[in-house]
């Protein structure tokens, strides 16, 4: 059964994380294949998850519940009720603001091995379509790595990218673009 709930997120301003790209322009030789590329592919982001374990205190709004019981995923008061995270343009960098939320989802998945999580990557309409599919894939992969960090099994997580093909907001402005650059957490019972 699909438990997909698109909760409306009350967003604080997105802290735009500075791009760590310091790769030189110009001719670039392709890196040799080493089979471990997956872990390297977004290395800069993976390195920044030290505080993703929940050790830092975060404010819980009134009535918000932290629980990793199986049913918590359907509880509108659960921290797990938030199932979408948003990105900057042409970026797969995860904002610090979402580390806590992703950690909760990772812990839930680790605690419920009979659940599976599909991470759907999306982009806004700007830029080319296949590039946006690739970008959506990288966004979802970046989230996947953080979820796995909490001990969930890799077999519980699948990644799919729809690029800019499935917008949630149909406008052609900054607000629509912001809402469309996202990764959705879609849970299914295994």
């Amino acid at each position: 059964m699909k438990l997909k709930i698109l909760s409306a997120l009350i967003m604080t301003a997105l802290l735009s994380a500075c791009s760590p790209d310091n790769v030189k322009d110009g001719d670039t030789a392709d890196a040799p294949s080493d089979g471990g590329r997956d872990n390297q592919s977004s290395g800069a982001q993976v390195g920044s998850i030290g505080d993703g374990s929940g050790a830092q205190g975060t404010a819980l709004s009134a009535g918000q519940v932290v629980s990793y019981d199986k049913a918590a995923i359907n509880d509108v008061n659960s921290v797990l009720a938030e199932k979408v995270i948003y990105f900057d343009f042409d970026s797969d960098q995860i904002s610090q603001d979402y580390m806590e939320l992703i950690a909760h989802h990772g812990k839930y998945l680790a605690a419920n091995t009979d659940m599976s999580l599909k991470l759907e990557g999306h982009g806004d309409e700007r830029g080319t379509r296949e590039y946006n599919v690739a970008l959506g894939n990288r966004r979802a992969q970046a989230v996947r790595r953080l979820v796995l960090f909490q001990g969930a099994d890799a077999s519980q997580i699948s990644v799919v990218s729809f690029g800019e093909e499935k917008p949630v907001a149909l406008g052609h402005d900054e607000e629509a673009w912001r809402l469309n650059r996202r990764v959705e957490f879609v849970y299914e019972a295994r």
């Binding site: 322009d25 670039t28 894939n137």
Partner: protein, 431 residues
């Protein structure tokens, strides 16, 4: 009874919208287009009424090329119906270089003989003349063939009017699943036919070099997969369904291979698939995004989009190895390459902030020219003769198709009556 009629009506309406015709609007006329007088073709035999206006189609084709300025029918100074009836002096004074005269003989139901003659006014003689046998199904096509012959005779370049275009449409209605369609139509938007309908996205159509098949991406299984569909039989084959992205399929010039993007190892890289064996060879290996491959005409190299320098730029790499060489340096977003048929230049999406336009870069000089003036122009596709670039644009919040001459002087728009249209791709010449 009323209910029955209503249902029939709704079905008819739906069929109509499924076959919505693209309307062409010329948005920027070309200076210096050659004036040409296309005399309305005379209908002979009976019935004298014809399903299509052949000479009007020819005039519209030549006008859409941007290289000709057909004289409006009401402004024709004479209407000769045979070479003998032409007063050359009159046309010379009017500075009309060429005349087209012709006739359509109706031999019976759906049986026509179409003939035309191209007259060079200054030489004072016929320089071309042909006769065709046609039926209702190919009378429009016959008009496009005549346009091709006239175009080639005068410009020396092969015409591309009697070819097809493919594109994707999407209709979104409140409370309903969106409807995606893969469509194939004539280059003037007529005769649209649906190759695939889906509630899930359809992307990236690519023609086989012989024009008989389309490769495309379909999300019908909830994720991307690549199919090849024969347009005559409508039979299709799933050729790529790896874990992760199955995207950006592009046929090799010899028709034996498919370049594509896969993320089966986690990150998007470009591969080449041998279509006979389905065997893959990996072309790029990089931690950045590599996608949107485009073949050089000799089939030895690919141009592709890569984020390896931080922002998307075009690179060029041999399919059998070697270094990737950067192609674009101007601007911070250059993506989705399409190589010109002569291999001398590449068209792509050139982004600057929130504005995306179609640009062309000459390989030899490195000179880049921005051709379009939209805000969200994408998916450039060359006409097989290299004269025009078809692309997707936005107008009034809707996706439309547009075309621009390769020199940027002539522009037109193809608007669907409803819904969005996107990802146009121009078919190769008919074989």
């Amino acid at each position: 009874m009323i209910k029955h009629v209503l249902i029939t009506l709704i079905l008819l309406l739906q069929m109509h919208s499924a076959h919505a015709v693209l309307q062409v609007e010329i948005t920027k006329g070309a200076e210096g287009a050659l004036p040409i007088a296309i005399i309305p073709f005379v209908a002979k035999g009976k019935p004298a009424s014809l399903p299509v206006n052949v000479s009007a189609i020819i005039a519209a084709d030549l006008q859409r090329s941007g290289k000709f300025a057909p004289i409006e029918e009401q402004k024709l100074i004479a209407r000769p119906d045979s070479p003998e009836a032409i007063n050359y002096k009159l046309w010379r004074i009017a500075s009309i270089d060429h005349l087209v005269i012709g006739e359509v003989n109706v031999a019976g139901p759906s049986r026509y003989t179409v003939s035309f003659r191209l007259i060079d006014v200054f030489k004072g003689m016929q320089v071309q003349g042909y006769q065709f046998v046609a039926d209702d199904s190919n009378l429009r096509g016959t008009a496009h063939m005549i346009s091709d012959l006239i175009y080639e005779q005068i410009t020396g370049q092969k015409g591309a009017f009697d070819t097809k275009i493919a594109y994707v449409t999407v209709e979104r209605k409140v409370g309903m699943q969106p409807s995606y369609r893969l469509q194939v139509a004539d280059t003037d938007g007529y005769n649209p036919a649906t190759a695939l309908t889906s509630t899930q996205p359809i992307m990236s159509p690519s023609w086989s070099p012989d024009g008989s098949r389309l490769a495309y991406v379909s999300f019908e299984a909830g994720r991307s997969e690549i199919f090849i569909q024969n347009l005559r039989t409508n039979q299709r084959q799933k050729v790529s369904s790896y874990k992760g992205i199955n995207g950006a399929p592009v046929w090799s010039p010899d028709g034996k291979k498919l370049a594509l993007t896969l993320s089966r190892q986690g990150n998007p890289d470009i591969y080449v698939m041998d279509l006979a064996t389905k065997k893959l060879s990996q072309v790029t290996r990089h931690w950045g995004i590599d996608t949107e491959p485009a073949w050089m005409p000799d089939g030895s190299e690919l141009i592709f989009t890569s984020s390896r320098a931080g922002k998307p730029q075009l690179y060029r790499k041999a399919i059998n190895g070697g270094k990737a060489r950067r192609v674009t340096f101007e601007g911070n977003y250059n993506a989705n390459a399409e190589v010109a048929p002569d291999g001398r230049s590449v068209a792509f999406v050139h982004g600057n902030g929130n504005i995306f336009k179609i640009a062309v870069l000459d390989f030899e000089t490195g000179f880049m020219q921005v051709l379009t003036d939209g805000e969200l122009d994408e998916s450039p596709s060359f006409a097989p003769n290299g004269s025009m670039i078809l692309y997707a644009a936005q107008a009034g919040g809707r996706g439309v198709l547009a075309a621009v001459s390769t020199d940027g002087r002539f522009k037109q728009r193809l608007v669907l009556s409803e819904g969005d249209v996107r990802e146009p791709t121009w078919a190769p010449f008919k074989k």
